[in-house]
């Protein structure tokens, strides 16, 4: 597995379009989220030039996971659409807080694995690590994310320092919750390269329990 991160203009040519197609396959076709679409891709008003994308690709280049990072100093999903998830607090607006959204680790091209919900555990954990590292490289000390409750379990199992920002709300019959992810002890490397490429070869490690899709 390889991860790549960058803005639309920084990503390899054509990759952003593939991200948008992947998001359509996952969020609209598989998960049936009620999102706007042109029938082929999934994009919203927060897919701006300053959004940072973190993408996982398999050995042949197919996308197996993606995430979007947005600075909270400009409009973002939680602040604009789901502020009620913050238990009455104002949505954060700080250069040290970034939002993680449109997170998926579904390997839609795998024939061996079941497309078990939004996450393949191994891909999800590595994608989360890459997302946190990318956010930290942009100055983030905390991430805020809006996710199904199953993501929390993944965060805990994988050892990330996270906690809820407020009570869940029910969207399309599923509980959604905002979570804080504390970026602890992550070295704030300078952005030596805007395009970050990480090759994550399989390596022996204890595997988290398979993430179960939650309804």
């Amino acid at each position: 597995m390889v991860t790549v991160s960058g803005t639309q203009s920084e990503l390899p040519q054509g990759l952003y379009f593939e991200i948008a197609r992947y998001r359509h396959a996952v969020f609209i076709e598989q998960l049936e989220w009620q999102l706007k679409t042109d029938g082929l891709t999934e994009q919203d008003q927060f897919d701006r030039p300053d959004a940072v994308y973190v993408v996982a690709q398999d050995a042949v280049g197919y996308i197996s996971g993606c995430a979007r990072l947005l600075p909270t100093t400009r409009p973002y999903l939680l602040g604009e659409v789901f502020p009620q998830l913050l238990n009455g607090l104002h949505p954060p607006c700080s250069p040290s807080v970034w939002e993680l959204s449109r997170f998926s680790a579904m390997d839609i091209h795998s024939q061996s694995s079941s497309k078990s919900g939004q996450f393949s555990s191994k891909i999800a954990v590595e994608l989360l690590r890459a997302s946190i590292a990318s956010a930290a490289a942009h100055g983030a000390k905390r991430l805020i994310t809006v996710s199904p409750v199953g993501v929390e379990r993944l965060l805990r199992v994988a050892g990330f320092h996270s906690h809820r920002a407020g009570p869940p709300v029910i969207i399309d019959e599923h509980p959604i919750v905002a979570c804080w992810i504390e970026i602890d002890d992550v070295p704030h490397s300078r952005k030596a390269s805007n395009l970050s490429l990480t090759n994550l070869a399989d390596s022996p490690r204890s595997q988290p329990r398979p993430e179960r899709r939650r309804f």
Binding site: N87, L89, V149, E152, H163, G166, P175, R214
Partner: protein
């Protein structure tokens, strides 16, 4: 006193938490147990899912955890199978944070003393009438 801090944590002592009313919010099954055709076991030997509870006052306290149901004959046993997930940070009498790990442990111990299983089972039975057996 219950205080919502800017970092998102609701801070309170364990004693205050014990005196706080919690109501059931939602419970659900893990995917593989919803469709009877996809169950990996014959019958219903085990089921797993989650349950979510909230406080009735503000700032709202939210607590969720995973559970596992073992069915043996006519006997049902719901067990909590993970540390609770919440927006809580327990504090000591001097309002010092006990920390995430201690908070989780004490919260879990408290949950194990309350009868959450009945409401969770009723909610699951109502939400998935074709997926669950009724005792």
């Amino acid at each position: 006193m219950i205080k919502l801090s800017n970092d998102g944590y609701v801070r309170l002592t364990l004693a205050t938490l014990r005196n706080t009313s919690l109501t059931h919010f939602i419970s659900g099954l893990d995917e593989e147990y919803i469709d009877p055709k996809r169950r990996q076991h014959d019958g219903l030997g085990e089921i797993s899912g989650y349950t979510e509870w909230v406080s009735t006052a503000e700032p709202v306290i939210t607590i969720g955890w995973d559970w596992h149901l073992m069915v043996s004959g006519q006997k049902f046993q719901y067990d909590r199978v993970c540390p609770p997930r919440s927006n809580l940070m327990l504090v000591d009498r001097d309002n010092g944070d006990l920390g995430p790990a201690q908070t989780q442990m004490l919260l879990g111990d408290m949950l194990d003393t309350i009868d959450w299983q009945r409401e969770a089972f009723n909610a699951i039975s109502e939400r998935y009438p074709s997926a669950t057996c009724k005792g």
